[in-house]
Symmetry: C3
Subunit: 467 residues, 3 copies
């Protein structure tokens, strides 16, 4: 009962040897590198009892695991269910959305543990990992999931793995420059994750521009139930974003504050998204695309400042603005980017991550520049911005300047890196689909029969239903 | 390719200016009020280091954040995914169920932070918020989500926002009377959340009675996959209910106990629900409506007593009874309420929240009245019921009496408040749908085209595709 | 508009009196037994204040609740949403998958609290339960959910309840032998949960062999959206598996380490699953069955060793191997087991739980045998393997031998128990479906009317229903 291959065979999308080869070789490389470099951090090592005494800890509960593990699990859900299901909105690309996101993230977290480990957790020739490394690896992969949103439906799994390899590498370099060299704060990643990830992805999709993409236009929309699946992704991202922005903040008040600020910003964002979604449509009806995406912009935009004394009303203001910016972006900017700049952005990451990410970087710079000892307390001020050691004398306004510089560095890395990686992905050897086969699971997945006999007709209206 | 507008245009359901206006104005009001009133609690403020010393805390782990944040996130999931998806069972109201729930909850939590803040966290002219406030705001909104269940599919988003505004206000007043004036215990909200929310919603739907609702009867059922989406909501409510009932209990044994009691009650409830679902149907088949809803009644009914020494077997008994009561309610009471009392209760909240909520209040009163120093220990007894200060001399039986009074107050507030709010919502200016357009996303949402024509063919292969 | 009953009525699948009777009687039995035996553990009892002083604890945060509750909730989600939705892949058995899993797990956790309580938490005639007992009860039920996977679609709810009753009993005996008599480590249950549960289920399905099952072959596949529902189950199992394997490990480093090892193993497993899924299919396309299942094998296979010093690269190796073994199993072994050994394994639990479980047991034995004081530290070594009291003098290699013995005991219990329970379930009085009615919700559930005809009319009222 072989289903007729109706996809154009102009391109060779045969994955049988290429995909397994990449997966297996890279995984073997991971094993070797982990074998040489990766060990447990003292808090996860069986020597913990001795460590505890050395650190003068009286209880196991002070192991970092108990400060961060619940947030880690929330972040984990955001990466795999959140991003994965958010992208299932396409009527016939659900397997690719969830499945390829699963694949690239599973590879990406391993490579990120290594890359970030070399930069941040390297001691005596070994990378020592604990729960914070797991969170950071998930964060790093988050930026790849974002970029995936721009090229969703138009690339082969091999291209995604190659992009992941490079993007994780560049992410780690950029992160090192920002956090270590510029000594800036970005706990929720407005700059490192969102700005970088989004502009990287947009550059890649620009370079992979497909002039004939309207050939698969009928598949680029949603169906009723695919929109509901996507709402699962949206809600998990929305609900767990307070954990995302607070996951690697300092113990105590910083984690607490970051969660509250994010909660507030996201709540405000929902209202302005709804308002503008209705306002910008002639019939005043709400558009699921906006609800699924723009409601999240508030979380992106407090990624830098959530752990600072942004205050709840400051957060509301940021969320208020971002809901508007993001929704307006979906209505006016996305079509413009596609028609004029040839940027085909499947999920509209420019509206959800790029612009709110920039806003987040700017809000962070301003919030940092406005910090005073009065507001933070003497100790809190030093702790919040790590004004110790070499940075003992740095002032808030200088910090604000460095924060702003961080935005620029992230943009540069994204454009330059995206251009190079886009060029690599353009090579005709990675098995990407032809234009008429984009947004279609059938190319890379065994799709169940039945049902389709009819779904099939749907996409081939020229063929008779009962032959 | 404009889809024909086939809905009756007897009513003006055009949202374009009204909905944005309400959303934007109210959000601006929130920003102003937050700006004037809301600040961080000491545990979320950058002055925490000093606070820690003052409170003689030795570790950041004693920040309330680490006691409550995991429960907060579970509660958050219950409100947005739990309630949201539970209501997606209708075949063509999934966008409205998840989307409007999202909208009203996002607004409600902000207003609840203010209202509850003025009553409970007001110090020196400021509302100081921490993680416990976030949980309480979610709780408050939970009561609105419950009321939404009664009017699901029959109201405009503006009506829902107006109901939220008033219901949150009344909830906070009622909660203040119960917790502060009557000094009663209700950590899981059997009275404040469920009894109040459900009878409020039932009163509203009674006042909004639609005599011609049978015109949209064909849309009031489920389809196969919508029932599965609803099970996502059910399971998340069921699984996380132990977190709900323990989220704001005292640190230590009270949170621990509340989780165990709720776990037990819910487990028992599933078995009696299944039993009666099969028993009350002629063919002995199970009904998804019961499984989706009545299985949760056990969580509602230990909302007051879970943190008390209800004991695991006491919890099983409560769950046992509530599974029966709730399922019987769906089979016999809901039709009766609709035909005789003109109460059109879309989700059957009378069975899931109203009756179990009342039972929960009563069980709480009895459990409190039966408390002894022997069972609780001398210190535990005082701590469990806060028998300190003015209440130093209150006895368990008096406490039981006050608990019972709390039920009555909640009922009164619900009926009176629901009547007033129902009357306001009846005004013909809020854009509610005509009877024949109820339970239909098409009125307020852009619904994706296609699919259906083909889904139709799929299951009716004998029918020609193009008639 | 009664849907025609097309199922054969050769078998009596009428549940109306049998199912309620079993549910109600058993729940009453639970209440009585809980009343006689179950009380709160000291950490959940109102006497906690006194307990705290006795144990020299200075803060409520040292209550076991705060060490384990977040993991408990993750495990809870795995059992109810993870297993429940994983099994919704069948096109017309979604209600049965989620609903029966809900029923059997809700009963099973109660019975497990008792059985495991008698063996492990029995003091002065009472079973004292706390959060760790809840986790263990969920674990125990996990093994029943696994066995359910083998017989999915082919049994009545009564058979499932009977199987649950016996399997929980046998699980607890086997667990007691392994943990207490053999003194072995198995925190994530490679042996007690997976090996035992899977071979038990495979034995049961062998005994219930249905020679005419091809009569319902058309219903044994998936449809597009049922595969997406199943991915919800997959991802929640995958994401929360680190919580599963660390939930009952020792406080501190052991929990921390178990989470890291599991995270690594699962990540590697995804890559080899994808590789072999593509490689073993002629057209090189990925198969959802593999992605849904084999990606999880890495979690199963570090169930014993995750809390040991397996190291991250050791975990990667285990995950690498198990992704391959499991995927190859789906392609070659499952058909072989069915055609030659008459083992009809609906979900392929042999590939996901049986083989990886065995591997997990073996890896655990090797890791234990290889333990040295050098790697673990003097204290860590003793703590990790509980080499205290009677076991003071046990050496790692002896421990490795006992671990291996644990695998054999689990296998024996599974085969013997499965045979007996299979024979009981074969009795013709439990209402199982005829072969042509397997994998069909219609037998035991009220299934909503056909979707399609109505959805169709609803949106195209102008078109006639039957042209």
């Amino acid at each position: 009962m072989e289903r007729p291959r109706h996809q154009g065979m102009a391109k060779n999308t045969y994955m049988r040897w290429r995909l397994p080869l990449v997966c297996l070789l890279w995984e073997v490389a991971m094993i070797v590198l982990f074998g040489v470099f990766v060990r447990f951090s003292p808090e996860a090592d069986a020597h913990w009892e001795e460590e505890k005494r050395e650190m003068n800890l009286t209880s196991d509960i002070e192991n970092d695991f108990y400060f961060r593990y619940p947030s880690f699990q929330d972040v984990h859900v955001m990466i795999f269910v959140g991003f994965g299901f958010l992208m299932t909105f396409l009527k016939r690309y659900g397997f690719g959305a969830v499945g390829f996101n699963f694949l690239l993230a599973a590879f990406g977290i391993q490579w990120a543990l290594l890359m970030q480990g070399w930069f941040h957790s390297f001691k005596n020739g070994k990378i020592l990992i604990g729960v914070e490394n797991l969170i950071n690896a998930d964060f790093c992969v988050g930026s790849v999931c974002i970029a995936f949103g721009a090229i969703l439906g138009k690339t082969s799994p091999i291209q995604l793995l190659i992009m992941t390899l490079f993007q994780v590498t560049l992410f780690s370099v950029n992160e090192y420059i920002l956090l270590n060299l510029l000594h800036i704060k970005d706990a929720g990643g407005s700059m490192t994750i969102h700005t970088f990830g989004a502009y990287f992805g947009l550059t890649v999709t620009r370079i992979l521009y497909r002039p004939n993409l309207e050939q698969s236009k009928d598949k680029q929309g949603s169906v009723y139930h695919s929109d509901l699946f996507a709402m699962i992704g949206t809600l998990y991202l929305w609900m767990y974003w307070p954990s995302f922005n607070s996951a690697i903040s300092d113990h105590g008040d910083a984690q607490h504050r970051a969660a509250i600020n994010t909660y507030c910003s996201l709540a405000a964002c929902v209202l302005t998204t709804m308002a503008f979604s209705s306002m910008l449509q002639k019939k005043g009806k709400l558009d699921m695309v906006h609800i699924q995406n723009a409601t999240l912009a508030g979380g992106v935009a407090v990624g830098t400042s959530a752990e600072m004394m942004l205050t709840p009303y400051g957060s509301l203001i940021v969320g208020f603005i971002c809901g508007i910016v993001s929704t307006v972006g979906y209505v006016y900017l996305t079509p413009f980017l596609e028609s004029r700049l040839h940027i085909q952005d499947t999920c509209g990451i420019h509206n959800l991550h790029a612009m709110p990410g920039l806003i987040g970087g700017i809000v962070g710079a301003i919030t940092a520049a406005a910090a005073t000892e009065d507001v933070y307390g003497k100790e809190g001020f030093i702790k919040a911005f790590d004004f110790t050691g070499t940075y003992r004398t740095r002032t808030p306004s200088v910090q604000g300047g460095f924060q702003a510089a961080g935005i620029m560095v992230s943009l540069l890395m994204a454009f330059a890196g995206g251009a190079v990686v886009g060029a690599i992905l353009k090579l005709p050897i990675w098995g990407d689909p032809a234009a008429e086969n984009c947004f279609e699971d059938d190319i890379y997945w065994e799709v169940p029969e039945d049902e389709e006999s009819d779904v099939y007709h749907m996409h081939n209206p020229d063929k008779p239903a009962s032959p």
